[in-house]
C-alpha cells in the first residue's frame, strides 16, 4: 500500500471511475436510447421532422466521437446510488460523485448550473443531488446518473387526488404536461409517471420511471403496465413532433412506477425527459473494479 492516508488509492480510484461515469453520460447516449431514437426517426413524415431527427442522430454521433457534451445544458446532475451493505467505501463513493462533477465542469464536460435561488448568481461549488439506498446482502454499488436540461424540468408536476377523482385528475395532469411543456422540452420526450401516497413520493417515483431501463420496456407489474399502455395510446397522437415542429413522432417512451397509496389520498406526478436521454450507470465492486453497463458494458 502506498504511503499516505488510509484509502488514498481508493479515493483517487473512485474519483476516476465517477468522472468516467459523468463523461460517458454527458457525451454519449446509452445503447437503448440510440436504438429507440433511430426507430422513431424512421417514422418521421414531414421534411422538417426528418431534418430534426437526422440532426439529433448526427449530433449524438459527433458528441460521442469528439467526446463533447451532447447538449450544453447538462442540468443539475442527479445521482441515484444503490449501495451494498457490505460495500466498504460508502462515504468515499458519495464524496467522489460531487468531486467528479466539479472536475467535469473544469474539463467542459458539464456546464456549471448551480446558481443562488435569490439572485441567480453563480455558485462556485458543484451541488449535485444524490439519492441513496442501502441494499441488503450486496458488497457492490450501483450509481445511476441522469442529466437533463432546465427545459425538461418544467414538465415536472405533482398533485394529490381524492380516491374517486384520480382517473380524471391523472389524465389532465399528464396531458397538460405534454401539451404545455413538451413542445419546448426538446422532444421526442420520455414521460415518467409516479403514483404514491404523497406528492414527494409520487415525484420521486416518476423520476425512477423516467430512468427505466431499457427505454420503452413495460413494468413488471401488470397494473402499471396497463396504465402505461393507456397513457401512451392517449399521448402518442398529439401533434407535437420532434423539436415541437409536428410532422412525426414525439414520444420516446412512457413508464409508470407505483407504490401503495393512502385510503384517502392518491398522489400522481409527472417527470418529462428530453430526447438527449443522458442516463448512465456505474457498477463498482468492493475491490473497485468498475463498468458502465448502459454504455456497452465497457470496463473503466
Amino acid at each position: 500500500m502506498p504511503p499516505g492516508e488510509r484509502g488514498s488509492w481508493e479515493r483517487s480510484r473512485l474519483r476516476e471511475v465517477a468522472l468516467e461515469l459523468v463523461a460517458a453520460t454527458s457525451t454519449s447516449l446509452p445503447d437503448d436510447v440510440k436504438a429507440r431514437l433511430a426507430g422513431l426517426a424512421s417514422r418521421a413524415d414531414s421534411p422538417l421532422a426528418r431534418l430534426v431527427y437526422e440532426s439529433l442522430l448526427a449530433n449524438a454521433e459527433l458528441a460521442e466521437t469528439s467526446r463533447s457534451p451532447i447538449c450544453q445544458d447538462t442540468g443539475t446532475p442527479q445521482f441515484f446510488a444503490r449501495i451494498g451493505e457490505q460495500f466498504p467505501w460508502k462515504s468515499l463513493l458519495l464524496a467522489s460523485l460531487a468531486e467528479a462533477v466539479e472536475e467535469a465542469q473544469g474539463l467542459g464536460l458539464l456546464r456549471p448550473n448551480s446558481v443562488r435561488w435569490r439572485s441567480g448568481e453563480p455558485r462556485s461549488s458543484a451541488e449535485p443531488w444524490i439519492h441513496v439506498e442501502i441494499v441488503e446482502g450486496s458488497s457492490s454499488a450501483e450509481v445511476v446518473l441522469y442529466l437533463a436540461g432546465g427545459g425538461a424540468s418544467h414538465g415536472g408536476r405533482a398533485r394529490v387526488f381524492e380516491p374517486l377523482r384520480w382517473r380524471e385528475g391523472l389524465a389532465e395532469l399528464v396531458v397538460r404536461a405534454a401539451v404545455e411543456v413538451a413542445p419546448r422540452a426538446c422532444p421526442p420526450a420520455v414521460v415518467g409517471v409516479g403514483l404514491g401516497p404523497t406528492a414527494e413520493s409520487a415525484a420521486l417515483l416518476s423520476k425512477r420511471a423516467l430512468l427505466r431501463s431499457p427505454l420503452g420496456s413495460r413494468s413488471w407489474d401488470p397494473d402499471a403496465a396497463e396504465l402505461e399502455e393507456v397513457i401512451e395510446e392517449a399521448l402518442e397522437g398529439l401533434p407535437i413532433g420532434p423539436s415541437g415542429f409536428g410532422g412525426g413522432p414525439w414520444l420516446l417512451a412512457v413508464a409508470v412506477e407505483t407504490r401503495p397509496v393512502h385510503p384517502s389520498a392518491v398522489a400522481a406526478a409527472v417527470s418529462l425527459g428530453c430526447w438527449a436521454h443522458r442516463r448512465g450507470i456505474l457498477v463498482v465492486t468492493e475491490d473497485l473494479r468498475a463498468a458502465l453497463p448502459y454504455h456497452g458494458g465497457r470496463e473503466v
Binding site: 430534426v52 440532426s55 459527433l62 469528439s66 447538449c71 467542459g108 441567480g120 432546465g150 401539451v179 398529439l238
Partner: protein, 233 residues
C-alpha cells in the same frame, strides 16, 4: 477578455483532443442557404417561415441575465451587435490557459424572454435572433414590425453547435457565470436553422399550437374514459 478556439497540448483528461470537423462532414443540408452575420437586410426579408439555412460570421450569445442587464438595468450591450445574429444560448466551455474552448453550444428556450425580444432588438439593433421552441404570436409580430427575423435550431444540438465555432472572439459579463455571459463568436455554418418568424410576421408555431390545444382536450377525455373503464372505481 480575449479567447480562442485553438487547442493546445495540455493534459487532456476526460476530453480527447479533437481533429477539426469540416462543414461537409456535419452539414445535413449542404444545399441549404448560408446567411452571413452581420446580415444583409434584403437577404433576411427573402427568408420565409420553414426555410432551412445555416449561419456564418460573427454572432453573440445572450440569454436571461444579459437581456436583464441591457433592458432592465439599462446598461449598453458589451459588444456592438448591430446587424448581427444573437443566439439564445449558454455554452459549456473549457478554459485552456488564457483562452476558451466552447465544448457544447445548442440553443435555449426563447419563450422565457417573449416580453423582451422586441425591446432587445431596439436596444441592440441586432437583426436576427436564434433560439429554440418558438416565440409567442405577440412577440413574433413585434419582431416582424422591427424588421427582425427569428429562427430556431433544434434543441440539444450542443456538439454540432460547438463544432461550428471557429473562434472565440471575446466574452464579457463573466461575473454572471459562463452560462449567462455574452460570448462573441465567429461561426461557420451554424445549424441547421429553421425560419420561425419571418419579416411578414408569419409564425411557424402559431397554427400548430391551436391544433395541439384541441388535440390535448381530446386526449385528456380519451385517457380519462379509458382509465375509468379499465381501472374501475
Amino acid at each position: 477578455m480575449l479567447g480562442s478556439q485553438a487547442g493546445n497540448s495540455r493534459r487532456d483528461r476526460g476530453l480527447k483532443s479533437r481533429s477539426p470537423i469540416s462543414w461537409r462532414q456535419r452539414s445535413l443540408r449542404p444545399e441549404a442557404r448560408v446567411i452571413r452575420s452581420p446580415a444583409d437586410p434584403v437577404e433576411l426579408r427573402s427568408l420565409s417561415v420553414g426555410d432551412v439555412f445555416y449561419l456564418s460570421g460573427v454572432i453573440a450569445t445572450s440569454r436571461d441575465r444579459a437581456y436583464a442587464r441591457i433592458l432592465l438595468e439599462g446598461r449598453p450591450p458589451p459588444f456592438d451587435l448591430e446587424g448581427k445574429a444573437v443566439l439564445h444560448a449558454g455554452p459549456a466551455v473549457r478554459r485552456e490557459g488564457e483562452s476558451w474552448r466552447i465544448t457544447s453550444m445548442g440553443p435555449t428556450t426563447s419563450a422565457r424572454l417573449d416580453e423582451l425580444h422586441a425591446r432587445f432588438i431596439e436596444a441592440t439593433k441586432a437583426a436576427l435572433l436564434v433560439g429554440k421552441g418558438g416565440v409567442s404570436p405577440e412577440a413574433g409580430r413585434a419582431l416582424a414590425s422591427l424588421g427582425a427575423i427569428y429562427a430556431e435550431m433544434p434543441g440539444g444540438l450542443g456538439a454540432l453547435g460547438a463544432s461550428s465555432v471557429r473562434r472565440v472572439i471575446g466574452v464579457e459579463w463573466l461575473d454572471l457565470g459562463v452560462t449567462e455571459a455574452v460570448w462573441l463568436l465567429e461561426v461557420e455554418r451554424l445549424g441547421p436553422l429553421v425560419v420561425s418568424v419571418d419579416s411578414t410576421g408569419r409564425n411557424l408555431r402559431e397554427e400548430n399550437e391551436a391544433r395541439l390545444r384541441e388535440a390535448g382536450l381530446e386526449a385528456s377525455r380519451l385517457m380519462a374514459s379509458r382509465l375509468g373503464a379499465k381501472f374501475k372505481r
